[in-house]
Amino acid sequence: MTPIELRVNGRAVSASVEPRTHLADLLRDRLHLTGTHLRCEQGVCGVCTLLIDGQPARACITYAVLCHGAEITTIEGLEHDPIIVALRRAFTAEHGLQCGFCTPGMLMTARDIILRLPGADEARVRVELSGNLCRCTGYVGIVRAVLCALQEFRRGESVAAVPPERPLGPVGARPAQSAAAYSGHDRARSCFLGKTDASAENAVPEPEARPRDTALCNYRDPAVQVTVRAGANVQRGFMTRAKALWAQVSRKSRP
C-alpha cells in the first residue's frame, strides 16, 4: 500500500492505496463520491472525466498514486459552480441527457469548452465533445445545450480562463522528493517523504471499515442540496433526500 495525500473537492484526504488503484476507484469505492462514472476503463468513453488541478482528465487511466498532492474536483464539487449551474439548466432545456450515465463527463468537458474556447462554433464543440460517448441522445441536444451555455457566458459573466501559470508536465504531477523508497503492496513502506498535514478526521479508512463514518462522505449539507432550483435538479434533490434519509436510518440502527 502507498500512502497518498490529495485534496478532493477542497478537502484534504489521506489514503493508503494499492498503486494499481485508479483515481475513479478511490473516489467511488473509498470516498463514496459516485458522481464520477466508470465504463470502458481504457480512456475511450469519457464518463470518468473529472478535474485534476482544475483541468479535465480521465480518472480511469490516472492512478491515484500519480496524483499525490493534487487537487481533484468531481462533479459533486461543482454543485454551485456558475458554469455547471448554467450547463445543468441548458442540458434540461435542450434535452441534453436521457439516462444520464455520460452526463458527469459531458459536463466536465462542456465546462472546459466554455472556459477555454469561448468562441467555439458548433463544429468545434462537436470536435471537443468527441471524447465523450453518449448512447441515448445522438448528441444533438448535448451540442445545442453547450452552445446555449457558451452564448450565455459570451454575453456577460466573465469566467477565469485556463491558468497561465500551470506547469508543463501532466496535470496532477508534483515535484518528487528524492530518495523515494519502494512501496510494495505487501510492504507498508512509505513512498513519499512529504509531511502529512491532513487531519485525522479526513483519513480514508481501509475498504473493510465503515465508510459512512468519515467526514468526507457526509460533507455535503443535505439541506442545501434540496433547496437548489427545481427543474434540472428535481431528480437530484430527490436522490439527495433519499440518501440523507438513509444515512439517518443507518445512524439510528447503529448499536
Binding site: Q42, L66, P170, V171, A173, G184
Partner: protein, 279 residues
C-alpha cells in the same frame, strides 16, 4: 479491467530514475502521464512488476531553444503543446498535430516523450516527429547520448532504449521561414488512433523534402527524398502528384497487404503533399 498488482516508485532526478530502472527486480516500466500505459495496464496487456514515475523530475519539463531547434523535455504534455505555451517559431506543425491527438482530457496528462517511448505505430507524435527530423536525447547509466527518432523507434511498441535508459528530451529542428509541412490522418472517429498517417516536410532552404507513411502497423516508413514518390513534381513548383506504384512498393516492403489499408495510405499521403506543396 483492473491492472495486475505492481509496485510504485517515484524518481526525483534522472540519475535516480536510471538507478531505479536498473535495480528493480523483474519487469519495470517508466510511467509519466499514463495515457498510453494506463489502458495497456488496465487491459493487462502489460504486467510490469514495478512502475517508475518520472513526472516529479523537474528536468523533464525543461524547454530549451536556439536558432536551429527547440528541445522539449519528455514530460511536456500534448495539451501544453496544443496551447502554444512553448517556443514554436518554425514549428507550427506541433500545435496543429497536438490539437488532433486523442482528446483534451487525455492531452492534459499525455506527454510527448511517453507517446514516443510507447512507440504505437498509429501515434501522432511518432510520425510527426519523424517528418520533422527530431533527435531523441537519451539518459542512461553510461551517460547521455542522442539518436534520430527513426532509429529510436525500432518497431511497433519497440524502441532502442537499453537497460536503465530513459528518454530525457526531444530536439526538434525548426523549419526555415519558407518551409512548409503537411500532416493528414484517417480516423473512423475523431481522436482515435489513426488507420493511416501521411506527413510531409518541405523545407527547400535546408534542402529537406521528407515524407512519412505512418500507422502501417510497424515503424513509420520514412522517405528522405520525397521526390522519389512523385511523378516528377518538385518541392517548390507545381502540385505534387503521388506516384501510387512507388508508395505501394514501400507498403509491400513494410508488409501492408490489405488493399483497403494500402489505398488509405496513398490517399492520406497525397493529402499531406497537397498541404505541404501548395498549388
Amino acid at each position: 479491467m483492473k491492472p495486475a498488482a505492481f509496485d510504485f516508485v517515484r524518481a526525483g532526478s534522472v540519475a535516480e530514475a536510471t538507478r531505479m530502472l536498473i535495480t528493480a527486480d523483474g519487469a519495470v516500466k517508466v510511467v509519466a502521464g499514463a495515457q498510453s500505459l494506463g489502458p495497456m495496464l488496465n487491459l493487462r496487456l502489460v504486467q510490469p512488476r514495478v512502475l517508475v514515475d518520472i513526472t516529479g523530475i523537474p528536468a523533464l519539463t525543461r524547454v530549451e531553444e536556439d536558432d536551429e531547434a527547440v528541445t522539449l523535455g519528455a514530460c511536456i504534455t500534448t495539451g501544453n503543446i496544443e496551447d502554444g505555451r512553448l517556443p514554436n517559431r518554425g514549428l507550427s506543425m506541433l500545435s496543429a498535430v497536438a490539437m488532433r491527438t486523442a482528446y483534451r482530457a487525455v492531452r492534459n496528462r499525455g506527454t510527448i516523450g511517453g507517446s514516443v517511448c510507447h512507440a504505437d505505430p498509429a501515434a501522432d507524435w511518432v510520425s510527426a516527429l519523424c517528418a520533422l527530423g527530431a533527435q531523441c536525447l537519451i539518459a542512461g547509466p553510461a551517460g547521455a547520448h542522442c539518436m534520430p527518432i527513426e532509429q529510436f523507434v525500432v518497431g511497433a511498441f519497440e524502441t532502442a532504449l537499453g537497460p536503465g535508459e530513459l528518454l530525457e528530451a526531444i530536439r526538434i529542428p525548426r523549419l526555415s521561414p519558407g518551409g512548409r509541412w503537411g500532416y493528414n490522418k484517417l480516423c473512423r472517429r475523431m481522436g482515435e488512433f489513426a488507420l493511416a498517417i501521411g506527413a510531409v516536410l518541405s523545407d527547400p532552404a535546408r534542402e529537406r523534402f521528407r515524407a512519412v507513411i505512418g500507422a502501417t502497423g510497424g515503424k513509420p516508413i520514412i522517405v528522405t527524398d520525397a521526390r522519389l514518390l512523385g511523378h516528377g513534381g518538385s518541392s517548390t513548383g507545381d502540385a505534387f502528384a503521388v506516384d501510387e506504384a512507388a508508395v505501394l512498393r514501400l507498403l509491400d516492403q513494410a508488409g501492408v497487404v490489405d488493399p483497403v489499408a494500402r489505398r488509405q495510405h496513398v490517399v492520406v499521403l497525397q493529402r499531406a503533399f497537397d498541404q505541404a506543396v501548395p498549388l
